[in-house]
Amino acid sequence: MLKRKGVLLQSSHLEKKQMEHIIEAEGLRKTFGDLVAVDDISFKVLRGECFGILGPNGAGKTSTIRMIYGFSPMTSGSLKVFGLDISKGLRQIKSHIGVCQQENNLDPDLSVLQNLEVYAHYFNIPRKAAEKRAKELLAFMSLGHREKAKVTELSGGMMRRLVLARSLINNPDLLILDEPTTGLDPQSRHQVWERLEGLRSKGLTILLTTHYMDEASRLCDRLVIMDHGRILVMGEPFELIRKHIGRNVIEVNAPSKELQAFIQSQKLEYEDIGHRLIIYSEDSDNLFHKISDSYCKDGCILRMATLEDVFLKLTGRDLRE
């Protein structure tokens, strides 16, 4: 039975082009006792795309991807990866995905190179091939000079790159990244992004979670924004910005009473965040001139709308702790 499934997967590998959907989630739910972590979500990830799951802390991002790599069983719904049902073909699925978990769980008892070699053995990769692949990946991640080092001697950025290298050891058809750059300095983040862009351009399907909007706009072809276990919106980053915010936004620092009265009289869409107003408008160029000429001399800017505007507009500004 297992063998048959293995053959099935192999043949579907040969006909990769016909397999458009790498992940198909339908009505996916995950509850922990009374807590509903993932509340009936559906989405599909296409072959070769980078798909992002965005959301504030506790939105259900990690719970969602943990179900996809088989770490935690789903409560209800249907989930297919590579066209295989997750409850039946889990071992086959897991042998073709690479996972970069949120916590650095590198093996501190092993050296940098051994971390990759031992991990390769979990995938039944023969010793020689494992060593070759491990060295290639260390070079790709600019870690070749540290192969004998202890994991605990590495910097945060190097550890992340090593986790990333480890997740590629089995030449996966799907790479799953849970907040790949959280806690890294800007240099390290850019290094990780460059590697991920390289992988994406080679056609690797990537699923990532993040709460960095710049990361999502840069890497993701499509994304969903989640909150309280539900999907709020789905689409391409720019399309989402256009649809929910517009092209530009006007930000006013310490708005005067006159300006607030003007905004209300014009029935403009805006958000009041204490000492700052954010005004959304289709015709932001003209509006900006009007506002800056008549109501504020400085502390008033016109800027490009970003994914962050969409995110905050949809998920609100309350702290999530």
């Binding site: 922990f32 790599y69 088989g70 770490f71 935690s72 069983p73 071992r91 897991k94 042998s95 995905i97 996972v99 978990q101 916590e103 769980n105 590198l106 093996d107 501190p108 008892d109 092993l110 051994q114 031992v118 991990y119 053995h121 979990y122 995938f123 039944n124 089995n170």
Partner: protein, 263 residues
């Protein structure tokens, strides 16, 4: 439950065993020392020091020297310690602090295979310690061969028994400090009252009955019999006890680890 567990265990568990071996090989020179030196210390202290006071002891209706009485018990105690400590403290560190199990669970291995690999590894450490101790103790002429060789497969069986119950505790303790409890209430009483340093018959009647429940009592009886060259059908009871102990605690260990880690 048994059927579900057996379905999820393939030969891949050997990968977890290999991982632990790779780590062990980095520190084998230090890991070798305790089983090498410990019997020497004990034989010196008990054989030369205490043995003079104790004189001879009756075992299987034969009078034997005190040092030959306790030497095989030292092996049994080491079988217990090696597997139990490996699958409590060391496995807990891998599971809880190093998140090693989490990382492995993202590969084709199942949790059941990880736990199996860990327990088999604990038993392997029991066997390694036994081999070294047998070597040392044999130098004093305290082991009868070839019967004494049976202690080696026995070490593996005993290792699985104590590793399984150790892993069971790993699955239920909230923090690493709580291991003090099973050690204080289970391991230490066994160390003292399982016929290790004096015959169980010296205990009051109720305590004799109680010590039959201890797996170490059966393990000590087996190592001692084998090292005196005694092979008897009576011993099958001790072997059967250890088997049943494994059959209970191995699935139980997997069950509690599943409950702990799969959320």
């Amino acid at each position: 439950m048994m059927e579900r567990i057996s379905q999820r265990i393939s030969r891949r568990f050997i990968r977890v065993w290999q991982r632990n071996l790779t780590v062990y090989r980095k520190t084998w020179k230090i890991s070798f020392l305790p089983p090498l030196l410990e019997p020497l210390f004990y034989i010196l202290a008990f054989g030369v020091g205490l043995g003079v006071l104790v004189g001879e002891i009756l075992f299987d209706s034969t009078k034997v020297s005190y040092v030959s009485f306790i030497a095989p018990a030292l092996i049994a105690i080491n079988i217990m310690y090696n597997a139990f400590f490996e699958n409590t403290y060391v496995s807990f560190v891998r599971m809880y602090y190093q998140k090693t199990f989490d990382a492995i669970m993202a590969t084709p291995l199942s949790l059941e295979e990880i736990i199996t690999g860990e327990i088999i590894w604990g038993a392997t450490k029991s066997v390694i310690a036994t081999l070294i101790m047998l070597g040392v103790i044999s130098l004093f002429g305290l082991i009868t061969y070839p019967q004494g060789l049976l202690i080696i497969p026995l070490a593996f069986l005993g290792g699985i028994a104590f590793g399984s119950i150790g892993m069971f505790f790993t699955g239920i303790v909230p923090t690493i400090e709580i291991f003090n409890l099973p050690i204080f209430l289970f391991i230490t009483p066994m160390f003292l009252f399982s016929g290790t340093f004096f015959p169980v018959e010296n205990l009051p009647f109720w305590a004799q009955k109680l010590s039959i429940l201890f797996p170490l009592t059966h393990l000590v009886n087996l190592t001692r019999s084998f090292s005196f060259g005694i092979i008897d059908t009576k011993l099958l009871w001790d072997v059967a006890y250890l088997f049943v102990f494994c059959l209970i605690f191995f699935p139980l260990a997997i069950f509690v680890m599943h409950r702990r880690l799969i959320k």
